[in-house]
Symmetry: C2
Subunit: 361 residues, 2 copies
């Protein structure tokens, strides 16, 4: 089924409302999640509803939370996510960072006591829409990344997102996991019978696992081994360091939890206390904003004009694939496997929310 985007958004909003989320926050969260599916990031949008439902039932997620400022300075702040879903406090924090950037040239807002917030790029893009540069990192709930020399995962797929506005060009938007590949990408490769590239998955001896089923087992089922950091066997220290940077900014700076420590003692109904980091920079604090936009256009234009190895496959700007997916999915609908549609139907029914998904024309 390819579902109409508007129906996905309405469905998400109805479920979140039925779960007790305040109306304004439910509307915004549904927007973030739908935009994420429209951008082609299926792993971070509507597909997470069953997971969120399970956490809510376990008492780990307080859906009625409202973000609240704990500390407020001229260019910094700390926001309490109230153990709710991460989308509302993350959006609130980036808006606060943008407001501070407009006053002080730069604003950094941390979020503590939060949860999964979807795709980091959504919040970075919010800064670019407001004419600011945006940088976002986040802590993570699970263990996934095996550091160089290691036999066990100790970091997550801690994301880094960055956005910068241009003039005529659309904004640059980067949104990456600091692992070599996302866990779901390993599964997708295995399902299509493709070999897993060396440098994506390692076993407990640090040796590459390239056979599909074995790689999936290593990532999803076994305690030892897991995903390699960005850079793989030859340069994994770079991805490891970037992942740790993402955690230090989002977790250590804010008072968020560090998964390998939290997981040792966490009770089943104890919130995860995930942290996020939101930075906004007003280019007008450094030079006339029009000059910045003109230079962004010039740089992005040069990158697009790079001679291509295959003239039919031009060089892209970070953000182009997501924009192309959005245009296609707004027209054709958001792909939803039948199993997911059935899960959404069941979750809606259990919550007392209407089933609203409609196939695209």
């Amino acid at each position: 089924m390819r579902a109409r985007a508007a129906s996905v958004q309405a469905q998400l909003e109805a479920i979140l409302l039925a779960w007790g989320m305040p109306a304004d926050l439910a509307a915004e969260t549904a927007q973030v999640m739908t935009d994420t599916d429209l951008a082609g990031i299926d792993s971070h949008g509507v597909g997470l509803v069953p997971t969120y439902d399970a956490m809510r039932r376990a008492g780990q997620l307080r859906l009625d939370a409202r973000p609240r400022v704990l500390r407020d300075g001229v260019a910094t702040a700390l926001v309490d996510g109230g153990a709710g879903l991460g989308h509302p406090p993350a959006a609130f924090a980036m808006r606060l960072a943008i407001a501070k950037a407009r006053q002080a040239g730069i604003g950094a807002v941390g979020v503590v006591n939060s949860h999964h917030f979807g795709a980091a790029g959504w919040y970075a893009a919010l800064a670019a829409e407001a004419g600011c540069l945006g940088l976002v990192t986040s802590g993570t709930r699970t263990l996934a990344m095996v550091p160089p020399r290691g036999a066990m995962p100790v970091l997550g797929t801690n994301p880094i997102a960055f956005a910068a506005p241009a003039g005529e060009e659309p904004p640059m938007l980067l949104d990456i996991a600091t692992t070599a590949a996302a866990a779901n990408k390993v599964r997708a490769h295995a399902m299509r019978g493709k070999p897993i590239p060396e440098g994506w998955v390692v076993d407990a001896d640090g040796a590459p696992v390239t056979e599909g089923e074995a790689a999936v087992a290593q990532v999803f089922a076994k305690a030892e081994g897991g995903l390699s950091p960005l850079g793989g066997a030859a340069a994994g220290h770079k991805g490891y360091g970037l992942g740790l940077m993402a955690h230090v900014l989002a977790g250590t700076l804010t008072g968020g939890s560090f998964s390998p420590i939290r997981l040792r003692t966490q009770a089943k109904d104890e919130p995860d206390n995930i942290g996020h980091f939101m930075l906004a920079i007003d280019p007008g604090a450094f030079r006339p904003a029009g000059d910045f936009a003109a230079d962004m256009d010039a740089a992005l234009g040069v990158l697009r004009a790079t001679p291509a190895a295959d003239p039919g496959q031009p060089v892209l700007i970070p953000g182009d694939p997501e924009r192309a997916a959005r245009a296609e999915r707004l027209a054709q609908g958001i792909p939803m496997p039948e199993a997911l549609v059935a899960q959404i139907r069941a979750v809606a029914e259990a919550a007392g929310a209407p089933f609203l998904l409609v196939a695209a024309a």
Copy 2:
């Protein structure tokens, strides 16, 4: 020859003074360059003296420049490097960012009209020594990175450095090029007859070049092809985006040049106008500084205790290899090939500076 570190520093200071650099800036630049060699980053320290000399003679470098504040805000500033070497304005800018962080919680200082500044990590470490988190990126002079799908290089090896202080543990210090490998690392592999790992170097068709001599030619001699971004063939869009982020913060935000545009029109004696970006964050703006330090210690301790694939090779913290190199080189001296020693002797003589290098005991 392994030269005593103190003699390398004295030699650098004498040459820089003879070139007309103000005494305080010559002392600091000699310190930055010597620390970089001590950290094992031979490509960014004393080995650059002949390159700096050639640029100075070509009129591209104004050695008598003194950094000057162009714009000053509560949490941001822009510094003019005066077309001199990048070390003085970069250190000046990070100190200014730290001072702003102490007042406003965060400080971001850009540098424009600068030049090569050595290793980005030195400036990030400055923030950590002052109890702040530090983030540094830089523009670059040359073209090196071929973007995914591209046939020609359009970005440099634009670095990202990040440092964070801890309590009992030494600071975390990450300092990476956003290419899969540094150009000099390709040369070092080729010289030792080692094959070049796939994902480091590509030709004009985007195909991997793994034979040593061919890879060196591709990187150093040919206009087409070059270094792959961090992530290589499977995830090069990540390194490409990170490299562009480094340039946007350091170059576009400050008014620095973008190499593929500058190189089209630059006169031989025209300064390169490289930009840098310095960010400092005071953890005390977010939570009690002692709590931050304690959580850093806990996280770094967990990472060190990661079960290792080979128990004789424990998992490291970003910064450990540089600290180990420093201890070894302070004791044993800084390795300097005879050819470099001869070059330094010639540069010193031509500048009217004494030759001061002394072998370590």
